[in-house]
Amino acid sequence: MLRQRMTVEAFDLWARGQDRDYEYIRGEALEVVSNNYSSQVGILIGGMLAVYVTQNQLGHVTGADGGYQVMGERYITDAAFVSRSKQPQPSREAYNSNPPDLAIEVLSPSDDVDRIRIKIANYLAAGTVVWVLDPDAKVAEVYRPGQSVVVIDENGTLDGGELLPGFQVRVGDVFPPEADV
């Protein structure tokens, strides 16, 4: 996995010429790497979100190549929602200069949890709600600015709250069953 130090200005120019997705975290360009199962979880929750947001005309949903500028860094979330009130039109930027209202991060074994913690803190500082989905523990963690962290097990419900009123999904339903072998 590529890891290279550069300034954010250099990153913005450099990232445009790359075939792969990169994030810019604490001064380093980092390649985004997932695995198949985490990708499935990401597209499942992202798909549910996209359907809901489209039907209710609430805003825009991006997938695992949607980039955002967050507190001066450049992040790519597995799925994200930007409200229509924050941004009436979809952004055409490689990294949207508006941080999302909601960012979803699906953990994968190659993730550096340390790096995700930095991302979460910067998201919170930017006013973004973060849902962390942990496929191993089958739990969702909800981080909201200024509020205590909520951990929801697979029988619990992820609720869109004020951000996505009426959106509800059972946590277990975002983790596709693994085949019995």
Binding site: R26, G27, M71, G72, E73, V113, D114, I116, R117, I118, I120, A121, N122, L124, A125, V132, D134, A137, E141, Y143, R144, P145, G146, Q147, S148, V149, V151
Partner: protein, 185 residues
């Protein structure tokens, strides 16, 4: 710091349980409902006491508050945490609470990472500290790095050649990072 037992408990049950005689010599945190025993190692312990000593020296010159060590518990956003070092201002609390877990969260919490730590737990702890308005310094003994988390502000990273500054919490406090990491003789 490390997992010894894995059991979920309500806050009220936890409060009773930690007071049992058989637990009097042990330290526990309650993170996302789960009871976690605090286990450290000598390197992390040395770093923590070095930081605590520097803060205490600073506080002798600047009477701003108190510093607690690796057995000082706090209730943070409804959870029971024991940071390795913490500072609580007189402004927030004029005297010690006398409680096993101070009902007031500290102004500053220092967490020294040890190999037995589960990073997912630290992620939740940092989220709750920020929600409670607490500044957090996360110290990495191997990388000689410190991450600074402040509510509503971008995360800062200080590397081994850098200096940690007390910011708004400990104005004028400066700590050269090289001085807190253990040296071999």
């Amino acid at each position: 710091m490390a997992l010894q037992i894995r059991q979920t408990m309500t806050a009220a049950a936890f409060d009773e349980w930690v007071r049992l005689p058989e637990n009097s010599e042990r330290r526990f945190e309650r993170i996302a409902g789960e009871v976690v025993e605090v286990v450290s190692n000598d390197e992390a312990s040395e770093i923590a006491i070095n930081i605590a000593a520097e803060i205490r020296l600073y506080l002798k010159q600047h009477a701003l508050g108190r510093v607690t060590g690796a057995d000082g518990g706090y209730i943070v956003a409804g959870h029971h945490y024991i940071p390795d070092v913490a500072f609580i201002s007189y402004e927030k609390q004029s005297g010690p609470s006398g409680e096993a877990y101070n009902p007031n969260p500290p102004d500053l919490a220092v967490e020294v990472v040890s190999p037995s730590d589960r990073p997912e737990r630290l992620m939740i702890k940092v989220g709750n500290y920020l929600a409670a308005g607490v500044v957090v310094w996360v110290v990495y003994p191997t990388e000689h790095e410190v991450q600074i988390y402040k509510p509503g502000q971008p995360v800062e990273l200080i590397d081994s050649s850098g200096t940690l500054s007390g910011g708004d919490v400990l104005p004028g406090f400066e700590l050269v990072l090289q001085e807190i990491f253990p040296r071999s003789s």
